[in-house]
Subunit: 165 residues, 2 copies
Amino acid sequence: MIEQPLRRAILRAVIELDNLRAELQSTWLREIPLATAIGIEVAACGVGGITSRAPLEPNSNVHGTAFAGSLFSVCVLTGWGALWVALRHAGRTGRIVVSGSRIRYRKPVGGEIVCRCAPAEVTVRAALDQLHSTGRAKLSLTCTIDSEEQLAVTFEGTYVVLAKP
Amino acid sequence: MIEQPLRRAILRAVIELDNLRAELQSTWLREIPLATAIGIEVAACGVGGITSRAPLEPNSNVHGTAFAGSLFSVCVLTGWGALWVALRHAGRTGRIVVSGSRIRYRKPVGGEIVCRCAPAEVTVRAALDQLHSTGRAKLSLTCTIDSEEQLAVTFEGTYVVLAKP
């Protein structure tokens, strides 16, 4: 049986993550009109990363599969969101911008777009240290999208975090 | 004074390019819902390349500048469009897909998004030869977006053309 204080700590962590999930979702939809057009949702939000999803219909292309620009947008938002959650979870805020990225389309995505970004703990910790000591951090994050249980898209984005004055 | 046959040839070329511009624009808006959400338009269409534009408002981000995903989408469509025009101008058709790309955000875009793709003639000719002899061509295209007369975004996309059966 789990001890009472531990149960309370787990409950607090679950509530905090669910609040972050809801706040991230509403930030995307309120501030970025294209996020609404894409129909992106935060499907899961944890300390180890986030998962987002978007329906195919508003994101289809001339071939009836997912448009390259939609797949990129879902990836760039998911990386941004994973970093935003990691910062908030560490009690920090910052202005997050993307400075560049590479994307590879390995196979078409013919259904719901599901994207995962799970930053390595060491990467996040190094960025937090850098942000604390210099007011600026730069890090690379990888996002992936699978289709029919195979890797369909790999995205690597370089993000810069600037401490808020 | 320009000779009558030459005048007719110039007029035919202008009409052909204007028809291609209109057809590309309607293809984007009919087949790709996100193109409508972005509000992308073909601003200019020539044998040397195309220019597209999109308003800032539907493409803004949390910082009030253009969203990285919108800038990418405008670039990937402009590269696709420039290739589509080059193929049609050469009397060819093909299924065009993007297999990967790199993008670099050099400075924020705080107004209308204007994107240019001007493929080198030698690149297009090599792709047409490859398509003719093997039924498949692969080429790299560069798109750029300026902001306040400075280079703001550079995009390099790898496109694959497959001959239609």
